[in-house]
């Protein structure tokens, strides 16, 4: 391909207009003016992000089915699941804070995993699911609001605070939560939106270049 026929690309952070360059495997293209990462060549991105999405969905179900943490003080014990923690704060009248935790630690991660599976499973078997564009847009909008890794740090800080006064009973969900954090990070680093758009272009018989 001649230089002038390569597709145009505009840097999302400084709007410099450039032409795409072919990348080696695992390479990344950066904007030559502001240094923003423009796109990456992630080998086997579809398969990997699908695999990581499935494992994170399984871990997510485990996380939400079992108690996260339990405490014991002289025979008096209390244990909560993630949803019960949100519920308990709601019952204490802290509706805003409770909703914030629900949205960022439960709802958005669940929605993100669901949408990823909806996109990736059909594409993996060679179909294009309806509504790819609005779903990609939605994924882009909700992405900053999924904060599983911050919640993980929150659990660790809580543990350190609790360990002085209580005997702590770590729940199954706690270990699964560690796994979930790692898996979601793996999804984020293996998913390449460009592959999805490339599939869409192929489906349109190369109508758009």
């Amino acid at each position: 391909m001649k230089n002038d026929e390569r597709p145009l690309i505009a840097c999302p952070q400084c709007d410099l207009l450039m032409r795409e360059i072919p990348l080696p495997s695992k390479g990344a293209a950066c904007c030559c003016r502001c240094g923003a990462t423009l796109y990456r060549n992630l080998p086997d991105s579809l398969n990997r992000s699908l695999a990581f999405s499935i494992s994170s969905a399984i871990l997510f179900i485990i996380v939400n089915s079992f108690p996260l943490l339990g405490i014991n003080l002289q025979g008096n014990a209390n244990a909560v699941t993630l949803l019960q923690a949100v519920q308990s704060l709601w019952d204490q009248g802290m509706h805003l804070v409770s909703s914030l935790t629900f949205i960022t630690a439960i709802f958005v991660p669940a929605l993100e995993m669901g949408l990823m599976l909806y996109l990736l499973v059909p594409i993996r078997i060679g179909l294009v699911p309806p509504g790819v564009s609005p779903i990609m847009r939605l994924l882009q909008i909700i992405k900053p609001w999924g904060m599983v890794e911050v919640f993980m740090l929150g659990i660790l800080v809580s543990l350190v605070k609790l360990v002085q006064d209580f005997r702590i009973i770590p729940g199954v969900a706690l270990w699964s939560f560690v796994g979930l954090t790692v898996m979601l990070a793996a999804v984020a680093s293996s998913f390449n939106p460009r592959d999805i758009w490339a599939h869409l272009d192929k489906d349109n018989d190369g109508k758009i270049d």
Binding site: P12, Q13, D15, L17, A79
Partner: protein, 211 residues
């Protein structure tokens, strides 16, 4: 041929903010849609400056009550204490957890202040059409986007403790009003960072050239 030193907008191109496709577009009056993903195309985020200012001012207003009001109430058989964000951190520091105290200090005090100040400076610099330190400013913007979410730490710690430490009369933890304002500051500054369009900073290069 494209000009290798000029923005897409200056050359009549608009990049779709969802799929990245670059489409020729000559005026924004007739709203065009991306031929690939059907998103409405815009050269810049609409009303970016105004929305960002509004969210930022709201965040400033909530910042004081967030830091002055009680974040967490802790009661045991022998003691009862009300903690603001800062007094909670000092309590942690004095009770043998300086490491955790530093983490909470960074997430709950440093990050929100940093975000408020940097976003204010970025907005002022865009308004003045400043060309100074573009590379540093874009880096500041990236840091703001990256670290903002970690302020939620205190909200999560509060959720976990207030839910878990409910052992009748022996030990209870309750969330205080300060947490509502603190949560609002985190959310407002995150929205403000999203509304800010960093491409506006680089538009100053184009304006100065054409004069």
């Amino acid at each position: 041929m494209i000009d290798p030193a000029s923005s897409a907008a200056a050359q009549g191109f608009c990049a779709c903010h969802v799929c990245g496709l670059v489409v020729p577009m000559h005026n924004e009056e007739s709203p065009a849609r991306c031929p690939r993903c059907n998103t409405t195309l815009r050269f810049r985020k609409p009303d970016s400056m105004m929305r960002c200012w509004a969210l930022l001012i709201a965040a400033y207003l909530f910042y004081l009550p967030a830091n002055l009001l009680t974040m967490m109430e802790t009661g045991t058989l022998i003691s009862y204490r009300k903690d603001t964000i800062l007094s909670g951190i000092i309590h942690l520091w004095n009770n043998g957890n300086p490491g955790i105290a530093v983490i909470v200090f960074i997430a709950s005090i440093m990050v929100p202040i940093f975000k408020l100040i940097v976003l204010t400076l970025l907005l002022l610099s865009v308004r003045r059409g400043s060309r100074w330190g573009l590379k540093h400013r874009i880096q500041l913007y990236r840091i703001v986007e990256m670290v903002g979410r970690w302020s939620m730490l205190d909200i999560y710690v509060l959720t976990i403790l207030a839910a878990l430490v409910q052992i009748q009369s022996m030990a209870t933890v309750k969330a205080g009003t300060g947490s509502i304002f603190f949560g609002a500051v985190v959310v407002l500054t995150m929205f403000a960072a999203m509304e800010f369009d960093p491409r506006m900073m680089w538009d100053s290069l184009r304006e100065k050239e054409s004069v």
